[in-house]
C-alpha cells in the first residue's frame, strides 16, 4: 500500500524526540543543542534566518555546537551566510551542501571554505529565487527563526523586523517541517501576531537579544561633492525627465545623496509632488528630511533599520504599520513591489563592463547577490503602463511599432573610481576569473547590461536605451568612464556625436555647473541633523553617535 502521509509521520517522530527537551513548546537555553540534535536529521535541508539583518544568532551558535556524528551532511538553504557560525557548520562537517543568496560579511571566509572542499555549492541565488525554490525543490525540513517575543502558544511577534520569516516559515510548516524560534522574551499577550503559533513547534528565550546590523544607515558627513554632483544629474536628468514617482533605491552613499537633495536641490527645481512619492525602500534614515518636508506618500520596506522604530511608529501614515502601531516589513512582497510596481531602480556597483554588465565580485570575494538582480531588472511580465515606463520603452525602439512594451528604468549610479583608486569601469569583469577559479556554471553578474537603461557617473549620464549598436553602447560607456583606462581609450569623435544625440549628457548639458555641487546642499549634513529632523524620534545606534 502506498504511503501518502509519510511526511506527517516523520514529523511526529521528530516532535516526539524534541518534546523530551521541551515543556509544551518552551525549551530551556541549555537544552537547545540537544533539541536541535533531536529534531534535525542528517541530510536535512535547514534554514537559519536571517539574511543581512536580523539573525537567529543563538540558534546558530547552538547548532554549531552539535555533534557532527549526530548531525552531518546537512543541506543549508538560507538566504544569508552572515555569522561566523554559519561557516563553522561547514568547517565542522555538520553541513555539507549550500544554496544561498547573500554572504557579504563572510565574503572572504566563504571562498576559503569552498576551496577546502568542505562545501558542495548548489547555486548562488537572489533572495526571492531562493524563497521561490522553498515552494518547489528546496523546501526546508527545519527552519530556525528569530522573533522579538512569543506567547506560550508559540505565536510570534517580530515587529518591524518581520523580513523573510513569513515566507520561510510558511514553506517549512506546510510541508511537514519543524519550526524553532529564538525570542528575546515570552509574554502573556503579543502586540500583534506575525506568525501564528500553529506554525511554530519550539520556542527558546535566548540569553541575549538578537543582534541586528544597521545596514541601511549612511552618515551624511561622509557624502562627497562628487557624489552630490552625480545625484544632481540623476535628479534632473532622469527623475525629472521621466517623471519618476514610484521607485526603489539600493543602499549606498550615492543614493543617500539623492535622498538628501530632495528637500533642497529638487525643491528648487519645482519637483515636489512630481517625483519620488511612492517607495519600495528600507527605512533609510537619510530619507527623513524628505518625509518631513512632505515629499513622500508611502514606503513599503524589505526589512527594518536599527533606531527607526519610534520614528516609524509616529509616521504610520508613511510606513506599513500593524494594528499594534509598529511597522511590518516583508522582503518577499517588497521585492515584488520593486519588480512590478516601481518604474525605477537605482543603485551602485563595483564593476561595469563595456556592455553595461555589472558585478560586485572580485577575484577573492564571494558576496552573493542579495536582492539587487531582481530590483535591477526589467520585469517582462509587467503589463500595466505608466508614463516613465512607456517613455523608456519608446526610447528603446525606432519608430512606433504596433506591439510595444515599456521598460523599467534600471540605473547604475557610480563614481568612475571606487575608494582605493580601483576603476569601476573595466574591459572585463573579475567575475569571469572567479567563475573559472571555482568552476561555476555562470560568471556571477549582478545586473545584466541588457537590463540597464542608464549609467550615471560624475562625468555624465549615458542613456543605453537610445543606443542601437554594440559600438554605440561601448562608446557611450567609455564616454562617461572618466579618467579610467576604459575612459581614456574612448573614440573622442564618436563620443561627441553621441553627445549630440543626447545619448551622453554632461553636467553642462543638463544646466549643472559641477562646481556648484556642495555639501551645504544636503538637507542634513550629519547623523545628528537627521535626528533633529525627526524631532529626536530617530534614535541613532551608538556607532554613529559622535556628539
Amino acid at each position: 500500500m502506498a504511503d501518502w502521509q509519510s511526511e506527517q509521520r516523520a514529523r511526529d517522530g521528530r516532535l516526539a524526540a524534541g518534546s523530551k527537551f521541551a515543556a509544551g513548546k518552551m525549551v530551556a537555553p541549555n537544552d537547545t543543542t540537544a533539541l536541535l540534535e533531536a529534531v534535525i536529521r542528517p541530510k536535512d535541508r535547514i534554514c537559519l534566518e536571517g539574511d543581512n539583518q536580523k539573525q537567529a544568532d543563538f540558534l546558530a551558535a547552538c547548532l554549531a555546537k552539535a555533534d557532527p556524528k549526530v548531525l552531518h551532511d546537512l543541506h543549508v538553504v538560507q538566504s544569508g551566510i552572515v555569522l561566523p557560525e554559519h561557516i563553522d557548520l561547514f568547517e565542522k562537517g555538520i553541513a555539507k551542501k549550500l544554496d544561498f543568496s547573500y554572504s557579504g560579511p563572510q565574503s572572504h571566509a566563504l571562498p576559503r571554505v569552498l576551496r577546502s572542499g568542505k562545501v558542495e555549492l548548489g547555486a548562488i541565488h537572489t533572495y526571492i529565487e531562493l524563497f521561490a525554490r522553498y515552494f518547489v525543490d528546496l523546501t526546508p525540513h527545519v527552519a530556525l527563526t528569530v522573533a522579538r517575543s512569543a506567547d506560550l502558544a508559540g505565536n510570534l511577534y517580530m515587529g518591524p523586523n518581520t523580513e523573510d520569516s513569513p515566507a520561510v516559515i510558511e514553506a517549512t510548516a506546510f510541508k511537514g517541517g519543524i519550526v524553532v524560534a529564538q525570542v528575546n522574551e515570552v509574554v502573556d499577550k503579543l502586540p500583534r501576531v506575525d506568525i501564528p503559533g500553529d506554525r511554530v513547534d519550539f520556542v527558546v528565550v535566548a540569553p541575549k537579544p538578537f543582534y541586528v546590523e544597521p545596514l541601511f544607515t549612511r552618515d551624511p558627513a561622509s557624502i562627497t561633492e562628487i557624489q552630490i554632483l552625480a545625484a544632481m544629474m540623476a535628479i534632473k536628468g532622469i527623475y525629472a525627465e521621466y517623471g519618476i514617482t514610484r521607485l526603489n533605491h539600493g543602499i549606498g552613499f550615492n543614493t543617500a545623496a539623492i535622498e538628501l537633495l530632495l528637500p533642497t536641490y529638487a525643491e528648487k527645481l519645482g519637483l515636489k509632488g512630481k517625483i519620488a512619492t511612492h517607495w519600495a525602500l528600507n527605512p533609510h534614515p537619510t530619507l527623513i528630511p524628505a518625509i518631513e518636508s512632505g515629499w513622500v506618500k508611502q514606503i513599503h520596506s524589505f526589512g527594518s533599520e536599527v533606531g527607526m522604530d519610534a520614528y516609524m511608529r509616529a509616521r504610520s501614515d508613511i510606513y506599513f504599520t500593524g494594528r499594534d502601531g509598529s511597522m511590518s516589513s516583508s522582503r518577499m512582497y517588497c521585492q515584488l513591489a520593486g519588480l512590478y510596481a516601481t518604474d525605477l531602480f537605482i543603485g551602485s556597483t563595483l564593476q561595469i563592463d563595456l556592455n553595461g554588465n555589472s558585478s560586485t565580485v572580485t577575484a577573492d570575494r564571494i558576496a552573493g547577490f542579495g536582492g539587487a538582480p531582481n530590483m535591477g531588472s526589467d520585469a517582462h511580465g509587467r503589463r500595466h503602463p505608466s508614463e516613465p515606463w512607456l517613455k523608456a520603452g519608446r526610447e528603446a525602439v525606432d519608430g512606433r511599432p504596433q506591439l510595444m512594451r515599456g521598460r523599467k528604468l534600471v540605473v547604475q549610479l557610480v563614481e568612475s573610481f571606487s575608494e582605493k583608486m580601483v576603476p569601476v569601469f573595466v574591459e572585463k569583469l573579475d567575475s569571469l576569473e572567479l567563475a573559472e577559479k571555482f568552476k561555476l556554471d555562470l560568471a556571477p553578474v549582478m545586473i545584466y547590461g541588457d537590463d540597464v537603461t542608464h549609467i550615471v557617473s560624475e562625468e555624465g549620464i549615458a542613456n543605453l536605451l537610445l543606443c542601437r549598436t554594440a559600438e554605440e553602447r561601448e562608446q557611450a560607456i567609455r564616454g562617461i568612464a572618466g579618467f579610467t583606462d576604459v575612459g581614456r581609450r574612448r573614440d573622442r569623435k564618436m563620443v561627441e556625436k553621441l553627445r549630440e544625440r543626447k545619448i551622453i549628457r554632461r553636467p553642462e548639458d543638463l544646466g549643472i555647473n559641477p562646481l556648484d555641487a556642495h555639501r551645504s546642499m544636503l538637507a542634513a549634513r550629519s547623523i545628528e541633523d537627521l535626528m533633529h529632523w525627526s524631532g529626536n524620534l530617530y534614535d541613532p545606534p551608538n556607532k554613529f553617535r559622535n556628539w
Binding site: A221, H518, R545, N546
Partner: protein, 307 residues
C-alpha cells in the same frame, strides 16, 4: 562654494582649519604668517613616503574678531591627525612666544586645537613642541595674554593637545569636540574592551565629549557646532578672562581635588551628572545646544575661574 563652507551655519566639525579661521574672524581681516607659498613643510615625512602639507597642517596669523585684534593658530585635524611635528609644533610655539615677548601684538590668542597629539614620525620634535608650548602658554598668560582654546574638530584634543588645552585661560568646546589625554583605542588595548569599548562612539563622546567636559568644569563655554556658535562663545569669553596668578593656581588645585573626591567613584558620565543634581541625566545626550548651554551655565561646578 567656499562661501557656503564658512557661512555662519556651516559645521565647525566638518570644516578645514582654513575654513574655521575664515568663518570665525571678521571678513577679510586675516593675515597669515608662514603661509603655504613659503612652503615651510615637514623635513621628515618624505622619508616615510608620506605626503607633506605646504603649511604642515597649522595655520597661524592675526585678524579681528568683532573688531578686536586677535592672534590665531589653527590645527588641521585632517592632515596627519593634526599632530604636533617639528614644523607644526614650532609654528604654534613661535606664535605664543611672539605674543609673550611683544606687547604690541594682540593680547588675545585663539588656539583652534584639532589634534591627536604628537606625530609619531617626528616624535621627539613633537614632544618637545608640546612641552615648549605649555611653557609658552603659561608665560604668555603671566604676561597678560588671554589664550583661548577652541575644541570641536574630528581629531579632538588628545594627548599633548589635551594637556595644552588644560594650560589655556579659557576653553570653548562643542558637543562634537573631545578633550582627553589617552585615546579610546589605547584605553581599550590596555584595559580591555569591557572597561572601555572604543567602537562605542556614544560611550567615547559621553566620556571625552564637549557636554561632559562642560558640565564637570573642563570647559568654560559650550558652542553649537557652527562658525557662528564658536564665534559667539569666544566673544562672550573674551570679555572676561580671569587673572592668572598664584591664587588662580591654588584655586585650580582645590577645584581638581574636590572634583576627584566628588566623582571618583563614578564609572560613567551619567552618574557624574546625577551627582551634579541634573534631574534627567540621560536627556543630556540629545539635548540641543541652546538648552544645554543654558543648563551648563546654571551648574556651579561648571563655571569657575580656576584654570
Amino acid at each position: 562654494m567656499e562661501g557656503a563652507a564658512t557661512s555662519g551655519q556651516a559645521s565647525w566639525f566638518q570644516a578645514t582649519a582654513r575654513q574655521r579661521v575664515a568663518g570665525l574672524l571678521d571678513p577679510n581681516s586675516f593675515t597669515e604668517f608662514l603661509g603655504p607659498s613659503e612652503r615651510v613643510q615637514s623635513p621628515h615625512l618624505h622619508l616615510f613616503d608620506l605626503p607633506s602639507a605646504f603649511d604642515d597642517g597649522v595655520v597661524i596669523g592675526r585678524g579681528k574678531l568683532d573688531g578686536e585684534d586677535v592672534l590665531v593658530a589653527a590645527q588641521e585635524g585632517q592632515f596627519m591627525g593634526g599632530t604636533f611635528g617639528e614644523v607644526s609644533g614650532a609654528k604654534i610655539v613661535g606664535l605664543l612666544r611672539a605674543a609673550r615677548d611683544h606687547e604690541h601684538l594682540p593680547r588675545t590668542l585663539l588656539l583652534l586645537l584639532d589634534s591627536g597629539g604628537v606625530r609619531l614620525q617626528e616624535a621627539n620634535a613633537g614632544e618637545l613642541a608640546v612641552a615648549e608650548l605649555m611653557r609658552a602658554i603659561v608665560e604668555a598668560r603671566c604676561g597678560g595674554v588671554a589664550v583661548i582654546a577652541l575644541v570641536g574638530g574630528k581629531s579632538g584634543a588628545f594627548g599633548g593637545a589635551g594637556l595644552t588645552a588644560a594650560t589655556c585661560s579659557r576653553i570653548v568646546v562643542s558637543g562634537q569636540g573631545r578633550i582627553a589625554v589617552s585615546g579610546p583605542e589605547v584605553i581599550e588595548t590596555n584595559e580591555g574592551v569591557e572597561e572601555f569599548d572604543a567602537e562605542d562612539k556614544a560611550l567615547v563622546w559621553s566620556t571625552d565629549g564637549g557636554k561632559n567636559r562642560r558640565l564637570i568644569g573642563g570647559a568654560d563655554a559650550f558652542a553649537e557646532d557652527s562658525m557662528e556658535g564658536f564665534r559667539a562663545a569666544v566673544q562672550a569669553l573674551m570679555a572676561k578672562v580671569p587673572a592668572f596668578d598664584l591664587q588662580t593656581m591654588q584655586a585650580e588645585q582645590e577645584r581638581l581635588a574636590a572634583r576627584q573626591k566628588r566623582f571618583g567613584a563614578c564609572d560613567d558620565a551619567v552618574s557624574m551628572w546625577r551627582i551634579l543634581g541634573i534631574k534627567e541625566p540621560k536627556a543630556i545626550r540629545d539635548m540641543d545646544s541652546k538648552d544645554f548651554a543654558a543648563l551648563a551655565n546654571s551648574i556651579k561646578e561648571a563655571n569657575h575661574d580656576a584654570r
